[in-house]
């Protein structure tokens, strides 16, 4: 069954993307699970892949971001009926189109790479911070930051001191 699905997905990819604009390799394990690894040369093509996954009734599992040299890479992990598509995109200009309008399941993970790596996200319906406070600059995953600051003092006495001082100013 998974073989048929793989053939269908591969045929669709071939139809929707220009020849030569991507590399594709297959990976199979001894349990019969198949993963497709796709490398896109044009970052805009991720929208076609997202639409394809949606048409197959799939979902976005997660997106992994990492930095190599002076720019970022994204690896999209998309699932269609148990088969994984790992789509690699190189971001030469540190910008990417949001796939959340197509796949709702990508909502959180796009916001996360935006705040952790400072990647510019185009067309996300709700590009608000996910975990980090507004006071922390984007792209913090590459630098040292004390826990108390990252958590906005929520786990230390800082928060209570802040509340106390605010109350005092309020009362005065």
């Amino acid at each position: 069954m998974i073989e048929t699905l793989k053939r269908k997905v591969k045929a669709e990819i071939k139809e929707r993307l220009d020849a030569g604009s991507y590399d594709l390799r297959e990976e199979a394990d001894e349990k019969g699970n198949i993963q497709l690894w796709i490398k896109l040369h044009n970052r805009k093509d991720i929208l076609h892949i997202a639409q394809l996954v949606k048409d197959f009734g799939g979902r976005c599992v997660i997106i992994s971001a990492y930095k190599k040299g002076d720019h970022h890479f994204l690896v999209y992990h998309l699932d269609i009926e148990g088969m994984l598509l790992n789509v690699e995109v190189e971001l030469l200009d540190n910008k990417i189109d949001s796939i959340t309008p197509i796949l709702d399941s990508a909502n959180w993970t796009e916001r996360e790479f935006k705040e952790m790596f400072g990647i510019e996200l185009i067309g996300h319906p709700n590009p608000a911070r996910l975990f980090l406070d507004e006071s922390i600059a984007e792209g913090v995953l590459g630098e040292y930051m004390p826990l108390s600051q990252a958590m906005n003092g929520a786990a230390t006495c800082c928060m209570w001191e802040k509340i106390e001082s605010e109350r005092e100013t309020h009362e005065n």
């Binding site: 790992n86 990252a150 958590m151």
Partner: protein, 359 residues
Amino acid sequence: MKTKIPIGPFHIGLEEPIYFKIDLKGETVENVDMINGFVHRGIEYLAMQKNFFQNLILTERVCSLCSNNHPFTYVMAVEKIAGIEVSKRANYLRVVADEVKRIASHMFNLSMLAHLVGFHSLMTQTMEAREIMQDIKETIWGNRMDMSANTMSGVKYDLNDEKSSYILSRLKELDPLVDEIMDIYFNNKIVKARTVGVGVLPKEDALRLGVTGPTARGSGVNNDVRDRAPYAAYDELKPNVCLEEGGDVYARTKVRWREVKDSIRLVRQAIENLPEGPVVTQKRPHVPAGEAVTRSEAPRGELIYYLKTDGSQKPERMRWRVPTYMNWEALRVMIPGNKLTDVAVIFNSIDPCISCTER
């Protein structure tokens, strides 16, 4: 009358820190906004500063209730990159450890449900039965939470006849207790009054949001990784996927109880058919450059690890996603339209784990 009510970030009705801003109309929730990030610790960054063996320790401490799944999925990724073959015995032992954790985790969540609906004797009863699983963990792995069962190329523990018959005898004790308690959760008036029709997640929303685990299965979506993309010994020890159609708290409760029963069966089956062989094949494997993605079914749902290596002793990039990460957004569908008193019950029904969601 319209009112705004904040719950959290630290609140007696919540197990973990999360901030709900609730718009109420009378007693009914109209809209809910959620703010998270109170326990974000930057563990992903830390993982990239540690070597492959240190990360075995670190990943086990990302979360407590699904602590076994983190190193389990992580080592599968390392093994895939390094091309290490795991013995059949080790794979069976991995299943034993994983299913034991699943039973304990589900029963903890279910007892919390009893607590939240105010049925405290039922909570005590569930926790008391769960104590059998805690005893098993302590006896076999030496710890009540972090079992440290997995290592690269196999497992760190082995079962002899004495240990195997201990687990089987304790499971024999647990089985009738589960039947008895399950019946209360399924049929008791108090439990049903607080769970049936509460916090409904329709199937189409479950598919759209990509929810996983019992939250998805309660809405009739089969995302069970053990069935969809088998790993370890799950191609031989087949789980029965428990699906319900209701999509409410009651449906998710039923899924969890049925999975407890199924996990007991799987542990028994794994122990009774335990193949012979070594538990570890390579003591200090070399990890070459490469990348791999592995998944497993944690008690709360699908857990995925992405690992990229460059031939050094440390990962170049390691990324993981826990089930609660996906189930979170479903709360926006589940909570509106329900009573304020049900918010904590609905929140509990996705079995939230904020500690590992925010890392």
